[in-house]
Symmetry: C2
């Protein structure tokens, strides 16, 4: 079955991040599963006698197999893997390879929140897009468009810029009123990305589900640009408010990310079924609110 899928996909042309994403949206998929794996929290049946690398990879493989028909993207957060040093990085790399080989139509977003000055970013570009082989990456806006050129030049990839993040303290700088017009910094980031950073049509923005009013404002500013929306589930974001504020003119445009509420839906041996049903539930809730 897996081999058939693989050979079926061998003849697919290489699709861009936006093309993969749009195809998933067309099929009614807006859930992004956050693969934020903490070895300590893995079900006993997965840990068994396995080493950290193997246990994390096996867990991700099972979660991916269980949810692949229901999602628009996977989003591993690099911090969870870097925490375990080399074995964590290998588990991340194997997870990405597994997904790309078996489900090449599902884009993978590396939530790494990188950004350095100019040419230095080339290292992160090589690491994410060429070594690990992901379709998109999250980046900090603070250094400006000029610094992020090595990311933005990759037309086939998604460059997802932090605008209004989901954490309680995100207002410290993001809500500051800026310039003569006294608009919030996150709005300036969203506007600049939409108007000046996106000449390759490969940009997207992060806006937390925990801030529906700000999500609505960003959607007004950026037209149909994709929005990565974390904060649903464990962080408390509301699905109906998120969809009402976040959908684009086509009822699409949303990458709604949930992690703990899906991957740890059960800590017992039925964790894969529990992840499946948690994803179905979220998919159906989202689709019931769209329109």
């Amino acid at each position: 079955m897996r081999e058939d899928l693989s050979s079926m996909h061998e003849n697919l042309p290489s699709l861009t991040f936006l093309e993969k994403l749009t195809a998933r949206w067309q099929q009614g998929h807006f859930v992004c599963v956050g693969l934020d794996v903490d070895y300590e929290q893995l079900p006993a049946i997965v840990k068994g006698q396995r080493a950290i690398e193997e246990a994390i990879f096996i867990f991700n493989r099972v979660i991916i197999d269980a949810t692949a028909n229901l999602v628009c993207a996977y989003k591993p957060n690099s911090a969870f893997y870097e925490a375990y040093g080399e074995s964590g990085i290998r588990a991340l790399s194997r997870t990405i390879s597994y997904s790309q080989e078996n489900f090449p139509h599902i884009p993978i977003i590396l939530d790494a929140k990188r950004a350095d000055i100019g040419s230095t970013n080339t290292g992160y570009v090589l690491s994410a897009f060429d070594q690990l082989g992901v379709d998109a990456i999250t980046v900090h806006p603070y250094l400006g468009r000029e610094a992020l050129a090595p990311f933005l030049e990759r037309k086939d990839k998604g460059i997802i810029v932090l605008a209004k993040t989901s954490n309680p303290g995100s207002g410290e700088f993001q809500d500051l009123l800026v310039g003569g017009a006294q608009v919030s910094l996150y709005e300036v980031v969203a506007r600049n990305v939409a108007q000046h950073w996106n000449s390759n049509g490969n940009c997207a923005l992060v806006v937390g589900a925990t801030y529906p009013a700000e999500l609505r404002r960003v959607r007004e500013l950026v037209g149909d640009m994709p929005l990565l929306i974390p904060g649903i589930g464990a962080q408390g974001g509301d699905v109906a408010a998120t969809v009402a504020a976040g959908q684009d003119s086509r009822g699409w445009g949303m990458i709604i990310s949930a992690s703990r509420s899906i991957i740890y839906a059960s800590c017992k041996s039925d964790f894969a079924q529990a992840a499946y049903w948690a994803t179905v539930k979220l998919r159906d809730e989202i689709n019931a609110c769209r329109g």
Copy 2:
């Protein structure tokens, strides 16, 4: 000789980042060597038949041995190592271990420019401070103090926050005028870090040498807080202007970082001597301007 040094340091109490740094400043050392190694640019004598990991590690070891008596810190930039996947990460890890074992009095700054929301940062904290074993890390301010708590709680480490970065386009957001008082965003970042983030006395700021007026302004705002100042050398920052603007009330407070102008001072077999003399020259230039 190396073994003697190791055993000499075994009985040293574990020093904080700020204690190590201050001891180096007291001895007149303000140069930070940026270990930003690109395998392609290594001298032929280092590359030889060596694999990437070994070549990068050997190069760093030679540079560290040549310059350890002259510097206040080493600063490997993570992007350069991540570019080579697992072998790059191993070269980084071996470089840090080598320096910490043989020169434990010299602090190591991981220039990784990380920052995620709250508990997710724990992964980066574990990776940098516990797996790799560095003394300090650079972070983005955009998510605010609340998000960066897992970094800020590490009293023994240095948390170095980007304020005004050295790149030509850093003004896009950092120079935006904020609030009723219409001060620049980078000033608000510097002020908040000094007034609200630094309850453990472990914060520092990044200000590029390419912006001496902004460097002076940050120094006015933050008292004697350490400033990491990149942009000298290949990026064109001026030493006299940097020291005049950046020194604190004691004539200290500066971590003046140069990378290419030191590590690639020669691309021939005399690269270690060339790195030594380039570091001596910069150290003497800095000290001639202090006062």
